[in-house]
Structures are given as structure tokens and as C-alpha cells.
């Protein structure tokens, strides 16, 4: 690699050649950009979520955190926003809405990474900052639902046209449920929106639009819950819905449940890494895994005394970066410096 850490798009077949790929853009992945940036290492970040901030942004954006040093109270979203501001000078590249599925070591010792969208990275170092794993849609605990998934039960939409002649049942009361109700209503044969109560968390203008369609008779709104699914070979035929008036059978052939997201380890389990109870053991000097060149920081790692705190993840990112510097610049000596007094660091931060 050239003297200065950099990334080039377009090695063989459009792969992205880089020094570091960070898997996960939670608070720890974001702060890793800062610490790596201080030692001149540029990064690509990949996250399956469509936004940055990991748990802080997805699970508790508006709730207060009280144990970030120097910030007596900060919300999950505000911490995310401040981290984004802090790492801005380092120009990391974000690949959101994509999951890293494949990780394999190349003959030359570097790594090949692939995303579910088919994007390829060729990288010197991998930093796994995957927290509790990939955010994935929650599966309603309905008996036999697995058999319908992919054929008649969908947690996201790839091609709207696939719903053209379907009777669709959408369950939920947030923005995803409302957005897909509004998007599919003009296309599908029929759309029924089912929610447990007659109040919706989604954006007020979507709720208004939805109610207008119901008033025009173009959309059916039911207040209740699904209790069972029936069909054959994965093809849904009807859903049993419990409402105030008792149970009723709805003839539907597509179901879209929106019950929020949960974290699942996901593809990380397939990368040949040593795992302990779904966590990646690391040393506490460099936070490197059993595979040299692959690091793990934040909630995803484990070591004696590990605490799943944002603050601990930040510390891990700082120490990890020192070792990554050696991989990227084997011949350069790293001098310990303070951001307060080092003109070199201040130049990188764009404050001098």
C-alpha cells in the first residue's frame, strides 16, 4: 500500500481496496474511525441498518445516557450525532443498509469481504464492531411461520410488483407498517392493516393518509392481533385475527409483520472465528481476535472483566488502533501524542 493510507475503488471486478473495513456503525464503530484517523488510517464502515448509531440510534434514540465521561446527560441520538461530528475530519465511507455476509483470508494475507448486496472489499484489516449482531426484523411467535417466510411472509419488500395480485395483510402501528400500507395499497389486489390499538406511532401525515383511504373504502383497517396462519407448502391461504368481536378468518396470501428489530449474531458465526457464547474473545492489549488482522471492539467482544458499556468500547478502539497502525505502516514508528498539544494531530483534525 502507498505511504498514505487510502482507498481505491476498482481492484479486480469493481472491488473496493482499502486498509480497514469496520463492520458495524454503532457508537464504538464510529469512535474507531476517530482513533484510526489519528494514526492516519482511513476506513469503510458497513451496517445493515439504514442509519448510523447502532443500538443508541435504533433502540433508544430519545433516552438519556448518564455515563459518558464529560457528558452528564446525552440521548442516544445526540451521542450518535456528536460522534459523527467528531469523526467528520477523517472522511470515512459509509455503506448503510448492507450486511457483511462473507469474510475470507486471501492468499496474500489480506481479507475479502462481501455484502448481501454483492459489494466486495479487499482489506488489510477487519474491525468487527458488530455489537449484539445484525439488526433483524422480529419474527412473530406464530406456529409454523418459518415455513411461509420468503414465499408469503415478508419483513421487507424487494419488488413491489410481486404484490400486484395479492391480498396483503400488514401488521403493526409504526412507520414501516404505515409506509408499506400506503405504498402497496395502489398496487396490491387488497390491503388490510392490522394493529392492536386504534393509535399509531407513525408519522402523523401517514396516519392521516391511511385514515383517508379507509374512509374511501380503499383500505381495510382492523384493530386486533394475528393468532394463527394457515396454508400449504409455504403459500399462505388465511390468517386468524382476534379482534374485540372475537376471532375471524381473513383470506390473505401475503403477510408483512412489523414488530421492530432485534439483534442476531448472523453471519459472524460462519467466519471461522473462535466464539464464546456468541461473543468474540480478544486480548486486552490490542483487542485482536484468534485471527491476526481481525479485531473485535465494543459489545461483540469478550475478555476477563468485560463490561458492555460504550465507554469500554471507546477505550478498546484506542488500543486497537495502535496495533492496526503497525499492520498498515509496518515501517513507521508511532509516537504517542496528545490532541491538545500535537500540531500534527490538530492538522489532521482540521483545527490548525
Amino acid at each position: 500500500m502507498a505511504a498514505d493510507s487510502d482507498t481505491t475503488a476498482g481492484g479486480g471486478d469493481g472491488e473496493i481496496v482499502t486498509d480497514v473495513v469496520i463492520i458495524g456503525a454503532g457508537p464504538v464503530g464510529l469512535f474507531a474511525v476517530f482513533e484510526l484517523g489519528l494514526v492516519d488510517v482511513k476506513c469503510h464502515l458497513v451496517d445493515i441498518l439504514g442509519k448510523v448509531g447502532g443500538q443508541c440510534a435504533e433502540l433508544y434514540p430519545e433516552k438519556p445516557i448518564y455515563d459518558i465521561p464529560g457528558l452528564p446527560i446525552v440521548s442516544g441520538q445526540e451521542l450518535t450525532d456528536r460522534l459523527m461530528e467528531q469523526i467528520k475530519p477523517f472522511g470515512a465511507t459509509f455503506h448503510l443498509g448492507e450486511r457483511i455476509d462473507g469474510l475470507a483470508r486471501r492468499a496474500d494475507g489480506r481479507f475479502d469481504l462481501t455484502t448481501d448486496a454483492g459489494k466486495k472489499f479487499n482489506t488489510r484489516v477487519v474491525v468487527i464492531a458488530a455489537g449484539g449482531g445484525s439488526f433483524t426484523p422480529k419474527r412473530p411467535p406464530l406456529d409454523g411461520i418459518e415455513a411461509f417466510e420468503g414465499k408469503s411472509v415478508f419483513y421487507s419488500v424487494r419488488k413491489m410488483s410481486e404484490f400486484m395480485d395479492k391480498d396483503v395483510l400488514i401488521v403493526g402501528g409504526g412507520d414501516s407498517a404505515l409506509d408499506w400500507t400506503l405504498n402497496l395499497q395502489p398496487i396490491a389486489k387488497s390491503v388490510t392493516l392490522l394493529h392492536r390499538r386504534d393509535e399509531f406511532r407513525g408519522a402523523p401525515h401517514s396516519v392521516e393518509k391511511m385514515r383517508a383511504l379507509v374512509a374511501e373504502g380503499k383500505l381495510r383497517l382492523l384493530i386486533g392481533q394475528v393468532t394463527a396462519l394457515h396454508g400449504t407448502d409455504g403459500w399462505l391461504e388465511d390468517a386468524i385475527v382476534k379482534t374485540k368481536d372475537g376471532e375471524q378468518k381473513l383470506s390473505v396470501n401475503a403477510l408483512m409483520p412489523f414488530f421492530g428489530l432485534t439483534m442476531k449474531l448472523g453471519p459472524i458465526a460462519d467466519w471461522g472465528l473462535h466464539l464464546e457464547e456468541n461473543l468474540i474473545p480478544v486480548d486486552t492489549e490490542k483487542f485482536e481476535t484468534s485471527e491476526p488482522g481481525i479485531f473485535a471492539v465494543g459489545d461483540i467482544n469478550t475478555y476477563p472483566g468485560k463490561l458492555k458499556l460504550i465507554l469500554s468500547g471507546f477505550h478498546e478502539a484506542a488500543l486497537m488502533s495502535q496495533r492496526v497502525h503497525k499492520y498498515v505502516y509496518p515501517d513507521k514508528k508511532l509516537m504517542f501524542q496528545y490532541t491538545t498539544s500535537s500540531s500534527n494531530l490538530q492538522r489532521k483534525l482540521g483545527v490548525k
Binding site: 433508544y60 422480529k138 412473530p140 402501528g173 392492536r196 393509535e199 406511532r201 393468532t227
Partner: protein, 106 residues
């Protein structure tokens, strides 16, 4: 101080003692009550501490606040008597409380 009884879907019961000021979820976790998962640790952000409040106790435990109602949207088989146990504070007033644990927490 309050005694709280948890009834499992199979009918088995467990009564635990809870200190005033803690939450019912915390009392359940301290006593390893099955079926109370509480993945988010009581932040009203996961809905896996869902319980059904016995009819006799619904008035004393009160209604869920708006944030809790929103989070109950993510629970399974929600009923009028549904609450998130991390949002019920223990006090002398709920001494004797009876709760049912749902068959599934998602």
C-alpha cells in the same frame, strides 16, 4: 416491601419479595422468574418483560404511560391487562400483586 406472585402459563406459581422502589421486572430477574427476559434492562425499549396483571390488581398498578403503550406494540398477544413489568414500581400499595407471564415473549 411487597409480595408478588408470578403465574406461569402452565399454572405453576412463584411468590417473591420485592423492595419498595425497585421495579417488578427487577424483582422477577433477581428471583429468576422464567419468561421475563428484559433484554433492554428496564429501559422500556424491548417489550420482553411483558406481563398480564390480574383483574383484581389492575386499578392499583394503573394504566401504561404513552411510551409504554408504544413499546407494547412490539409485544405478542397484548391484552387490556398487559403491562411491561419494568414500568411497574414496587410499593406497599401493590403488596400481594398477582401477575401472569405470557406464553411467549417474542
Amino acid at each position: 416491601m411487597a409480595k408478588i406472585t408470578f403465574i406461569q402459563p402452565d399454572g405453576s406459581q412463584q411468590t417473591v419479595e420485592a423492595k419498595t422502589g425497585m421495579t417488578v421486572m427487577e424483582a422477577a430477574k433477581l428471583n429468576d422468574i422464567a419468561g421475563i427476559e428484559a433484554e433492554c434492562g428496564g429501559a422500556c425499549a424491548c417489550a420482553t418483560c411483558h406481563v398480564y396483571v390480574d383483574a383484581a390488581w389492575r386499578e392499583k398498578t394503573g394504566k401504561p404511560a404513552e411510551m409504554e403503550e408504544d413499546m407494547l406494540d412490539f409485544a405478542f398477544d397484548v391484552r387490556d391487562e398487559s403491562r411491561l413489568s419494568c414500568q411497574i414500581k414496587v410499593s406497599d400499595a401493590i403488596d400481594g400483586l398477582v401477575l401472569r407471564v405470557p406464553s411467549k415473549q417474542f
